[in-house]
Symmetry: C2
Subunit: 137 residues, 2 copies
C-alpha cells in the first residue's frame, strides 16, 4: 500500500529517518487529538510538543540505540518516525494507538498545562513500550 | 468507537462545527502528507493551506448550504469538518482519501508552489465531490 516506505533493516535506521519523522508528526498529532477528544467528550485538535515526545522516548530502552545526547527536537523526531513506521507497516492501527493513549491518560488532563504534559509523556512512553517488540532489532 | 462525535442531523451543522474542524485539520494534513509521499516516493509531512481547502469547497454544491461570504479560514474549517465527520462515521477510510488525492494530483506537483496549490485544490474538490452523497442532507 505505502510504496514510499523505504526498506529499514534496523531500528536505528528508522529512528534517524527525518522524512519518516515528518509524516509521523501528522500521525501523532491526529492520534493525540483523537485521544483528547475521547477524554473531553468533544472533538478537538492538538499538536504534541517536542518535549512531550522527547521525554517519552528517553524513558524507553529504544533510546539507547539512538543516542543519549540529542536535543528535544531530534528525540521527538525519533519518536514520530517509530510510530509512523509501525503504522505504515500495519503493525498498529490508529484505533489501537488512541486506545492506549486514552487508557493511560486521565480526566486530570484539564488541571494544568504542565500536568497535562507529564500525563501525556507517560502515555506516549507506555504506548511505545507496548509497541517496541514490533520494531526490527 | 468515537463516542465524542455529536449527533449531526444536517450538513449545515457539520460544516459549522468548529470543534470538528480542529480534528479535521490533523486528519487532512495526514492524508495530504501521505498522498504527497506516495507521489514523490518518500515520506514527507505537509500542512494544507486554508486557501487550498477554501477554494476546493467553494467549487462544490455543498458550499451553497453554508454561506457564500466567508473568509478562507472559515471555508477551510468547513471542509475539514466535513472530512472529519465522514472519517469518524467510517463512511470513508484514510486509504480511500489518499487514493483519491493521489489519482487527482500529478507529478507536476514539484513545478511550482502556485501550481501545486491549484493541483491540490482540484484534488480536494474532487475528493469532496466523491463523498458529498455520504453526508446528511
Amino acid at each position: 500500500m505505502w510504496r514510499f516506505l523505504g526498506d529499514h533493516q534496523t531500528v536505528e535506521g528508522i529512528l534517524r529517518d527525518k522524512d519518516l519523522a515528518k509524516l509521523g508528526d501528522s500521525l501523532v498529532n491526529l492520534c493525540y487529538s483523537l485521544a483528547k477528544s475521547q477524554i473531553i467528550g468533544k472533538p478537538t485538535g492538538e499538536k504534541v510538543r517536542d518535549k512531550v515526545l522527547a521525554r517519552a522516548i528517553r524513558e524507553t530502552p529504544i533510546y539507547d540505540k539512538y543516542s543519549r545526547r540529542t536535543d528535544a527536537g531530534r528525540a521527538a523526531d525519533a519518536y514520530e518516525a517509530a510510530i509512523a513506521y509501525l503504522w505504515l507497516k500495519e503493525k498498529v492501527t490508529i484505533e489501537k494507538i488512541v486506545g492506549s493513549l486514552v487508557t493511560n491518560m486521565t480526566n486530570e488532563i484539564d488541571v494544568s498545562r504542565r500536568h497535562e504534559n507529564e500525563i501525556s509523556s507517560q502515555a506516549f512512553q507506555r504506548l511505545l513500550e507496548e509497541l517496541i517488540h514490533l520494531l526490527p532489532r
